[in-house]
Every structure is written in C-alpha cells, then in structure tokens.
C-alpha cells in the first residue's frame, strides 16, 4: 500500500470526472430534483416528507454512486487500463482506495448539496443535528460506491453492470423499512433485511429524525456501514486478478 499512489489515482479519477461535465451535472442535480419532487408529492403531509425525505437523502446517493462506480470500474477492466496498471508498481488496494477517495469526494459534495437543499429550501425537519444527517448520507454514498466496485467484477459489459442496480440495490430499498416497518414483515424477510447494509443506513437516519441527540443505535448503525464498506473493498481487491486466462 502506498499513500502516494492512492492519491495519484484518486486525482486521476477526479480529473476524468472533471472532463465529463454532464456526469457532474447529473451527480449534483438528480438528487435535488428528486427530493423537490418528493416535497411536493407530500405537500399536504409535511410529517411524511420529514420521514421519507430524510430516508431518501440516504438512498439516492447510494444508488447513484453504485451505478457510477460499477460502470467506471468495468471500463477500467474492459479498456485494458487495469491490466496495464497491474504491471506497474501500483497495488490492487491502492487502485481501489483511489476509487474510494475520489468518489467519496464526489459523494460528499453531492450529499452536502442535497442535504442543504432539503433543510434550507424544502423545510425538512429532524430532531437530530443536520450535520450528522449529512455524515450518514456521505457514508451511504461511500457504501454504494464500495458495492458498485465489488459487483463490477461480476459484469462483462456495461449492460450487465447496469442490471446489477435492480438486482443488488432495489431489494435493499424494498426491505430497508421504507415501505413497511421492518418488524411488520414476515419473519424470514426480516432476517434477510437484517443482513442488508441499507437497513442500517435507513435505521441510522430514522434515529436521527426522532431523537435530539445521536443515539447508541445510530452509532452502531454507522459502524455497520463503515464495516460493510471495508468488507466490500477488501472483497473487491480479492476479485482483481493480476493473471487472467
């Protein structure tokens, strides 16, 4: 592992993003538009917006970062740049951490703008502090990024990579407690929901919505998210093979 190579790679990925204005615009605009849409969807029920809008603040960045990184990493594989990188002094972990840092920067900007909009213009109300909501939202997008890096190993084309979104992310959205409180699901579904990382992300945000001070459950949930990010990155590194058939 080398910090110098990791940061060189993160810088390179951010430079690639900078040349792609449309992607930047999509990263920043899509969550804000969707949140605005939600706000007026629940125009007569601000309490519901406080609950759903808050959760979406965590879900949108996760989905977007998942898509972005799975496609970006797949491109690295299919254009041969990954094979070339693996013949240079950079290590596998440096490459993945480089992706992690670059997209975490993008995710932080995205989550900050979305949270600022939700609190300042859309009237989102939470008992807990807004900055912690921002922290969890960034944690979620980093989680989306780590999952995206991991699944890109199992895709051979961009068509397949995009299909992993409904396959990997959508079940988590359905089971995370957004549509139905988790304790009202069938027992076996609840068990599945217990091992899906997004359930903890949503629980952390819900805790923040309902309590003035950060709770122990919230810190535990944040710990679970960080743990999942680390595990996904390590598994991702294991899927990067220097020698291929």
């Amino acid at each position: 592992m080398s910090a110098r190579l990791t940061f060189a790679t993160a810088g390179r990925i951010l430079r690639q993003l900078r040349h792609d204005r449309r992607t930047i615009a999509l990263i920043l605009v899509v969550p804000t538009v969707l949140l605005t849409l939600l706000r007026y969807l629940y125009d007569n029920n601000p309490l519901l917006f406080d609950r759903i809008g808050l959760i979406m603040l965590g879900v949108f960045p996760l989905v977007i970062m998942f898509l972005l990184t799975s496609v970006a990493m797949l491109r690295e594989r299919t254009t041969g740049t990954l094979e070339r990188l693996l013949t240079t002094p950079i290590g596998k972990v440096d490459i993945l951490l480089g992706y992690g840092i670059a997209f975490a920067v993008a995710a932080a900007v995205q989550a900050t703008i979305a949270s600022a909009l939700a609190y300042l213009l859309l009237g989102l109300d939470t008992l807990g502090p807004a900055w912690l909501v921002g922290v969890i939202a960034v944690g979620n997008s980093v989680l989306g990024m780590a999952l995206g890096l991991l699944v890109s190993a199992f895709a051979n084309s961009e068509f397949q990579a995009v299909q992993f979104m409904p396959a990997v992310v959508l079940p988590q959205v359905l089971l995370c407690g957004l549509l139905q409180p988790r304790d009202q699901m069938a027992g076996w579904l609840q068990a599945i929901s217990d091992v899906l990382p997004m359930s903890y992300a949503v629980q952390a945000l819900t805790e923040l919505g309902a309590n003035t001070e950060p709770t122990g459950v919230m810190w535990r949930d944040l710990g679970v998210i960080v743990g999942c990010v680390i595990v996904a990155l390590l598994l991702g590194a294991a899927t990067l093979r220097r020698r291929t058939p």
Binding site: R4, A8, R15, T79, R84, T87
Partner: protein, 247 residues
C-alpha cells in the same frame, strides 16, 4: 551477454485451446528483439506471459532474474498492450503524467515522453478525440515514460505512416543503446529487418530464434517475407513426414 528474458517449456492455454506449446527461448539484454508471426499465432499471449498477466499451464518465465510479474519487476518492465490502453476522458498530457506518477516521476518526464512519440501538438487534446494512430502513440508514451529496463511493445507501429514508423524504430534503438531491452511484436516483415534478433512464431510454435541474417541464410533468400514463408513450409513438411512415420 546475459539474457533479459528466459523462457523454458512455457505452455499456455486460452479457453480450451493450447495457444503456446512448449515454448523455449531467450532474449539477450540490450537487444531489440522482434516477435513475428501471423495473426492468432500467440504473440500477444507470449507478451502477456512475459509481463506476468497471463495464466500459464506450465513452464517458467524469468525476467531480469526474477519470476515474470513478481514485485521487483513492476518498476523495471513497461508494457504496451495491443489495443491502446489509455484513459479516453483524459488529455494526452494527463495520461502521461498519471503513468509517470506511478513510477515516482514528475511532469517533466511525462512531457518528454509525449514529445518523444510526436504528440506535443496534441498534448492538451482528450485521448477520446485523437485519431487511431495518435491514440496508439499516446499509449506508447505511457509505456516508455519510465524508461524501463525491459520494454514489451505489442504492435507499437500499427497504423503509423512510414516517416513516423522510421522515427519510432530509431527511438527503440536509442532506448536499447541506453541500456533497455526491447521485445517488439509485429506482423510486418519489413520491420523484422530492423531487429537485432527475431523470434518467429507460428501456431504457438517457435520456428526461429536467431538474427535476421541467420534467418535469411537458413532460408536461402534475402527477402525476410519470403524467408518466413519458406521456414513455415519447411516446418509443415517436417510435421507431415512425422505424421507419415507414425502412420
């Protein structure tokens, strides 16, 4: 003279097929060695084995005294893949600087490599907007930027005009004089004459490992293209008579 690459009894399978059969050869240090053979004969596969990204069935590949692909080689070996592998959404200069940074080198070395391949004019252009030949040279710049001890170049002159091709070959020899070893693949026979040594491959079998002069002499012709055809035919008739003996 020592050898930069030593290959012994290398066997490689891709998919279900054997692509390299019991390949044994060596590449002398400081030489420009040409790897020639028809399309699909196994040139890229051999180069991938040398840089250590190819899974092999058996045999050994030793590069600069270390097993191919091992850690001490990573800053000593440069690899140009056959399809240009550079980032299309970065400029030529940004690509070269990124690859330079992986070897701890700075902007000056990166910019020198870009001008070495004749891309100074286009250095601020996005690679995605370059012509095919320019893109190949952008990729080449990223391979030579670290001035590695061993350069493995897979068809570096494809798609280049004769003037540029000549310049590139002069640059390869200049790198060799400065102490690098170059393994260069091509299927253009008129490039074979520019090499110090030739490895001729056909269907995964090595049919010649000698200097261009020796190839010409053995085949009894001055034309390398003709010489290659004769060697191929000679090998085919050997195989035929082997089969007859077995029958």
């Amino acid at each position: 003279m020592t050898n930069a690459i030593e290959v012994e009894h290398l066997v490689v399978a891709r998919g279900k097929r054997r692509v390299l059969h019991d390949f044994t050869c060596s590449v002398p240090s400081g030489s420009v060695t040409g790897l020639l053979g028809p399309s699909g004969s196994g040139k890229t596969t051999f180069m991938r084995a040398v840089v250590g990204v190819q899974q092999i069935v058996s045999g050994t590949v030793t590069v600069l005294g270390h097993p191919a692909g091992s850690k001490p080689l990573r800053d000593k070996v440069g690899y140009l893949t056959q399809a240009p592998s550079v980032y299309a959404d970065l400029t030529v200069k940004e690509n070269a600087r990124y690859f330079a940074s992986l070897y701890g080198l700075g902007a000056a070395e990166a910019d020198a490599a870009v001008s070495d391949v004749g891309l100074s004019q286009a250095k601020d252009q996005l690679v995605g907007t370059l012509s095919g030949g320019q893109r190949a040279r952008a990729s080449l710049a990223c391979a030579i930027v670290s001035k590695p001890q061993l350069l493995v170049l897979d068809e570096p002159t494809v798609g280049q005009d004769p003037v540029l091709r000549n310049e590139l070959w002069q640059r390869f020899h200049a790198l060799a004089r400065a102490g690098s070893t170059l393994l260069v693949s091509s299927h253009v026979m008129d490039e074979a004459g520019r090499c110090d040594r030739l490895l001729l491959v056909r269907e995964g079998l090595l049919i010649a490992d000698e200097s261009p002069a020796a190839v010409r002499e053995r085949a009894g012709t001055d034309d390398l293209e003709e010489a290659f055809l004769r060697l191929v035919q000679a090998q085919e008739s050997v195989q035929e008579s082997d089969k007859e003996k077995v029958a």
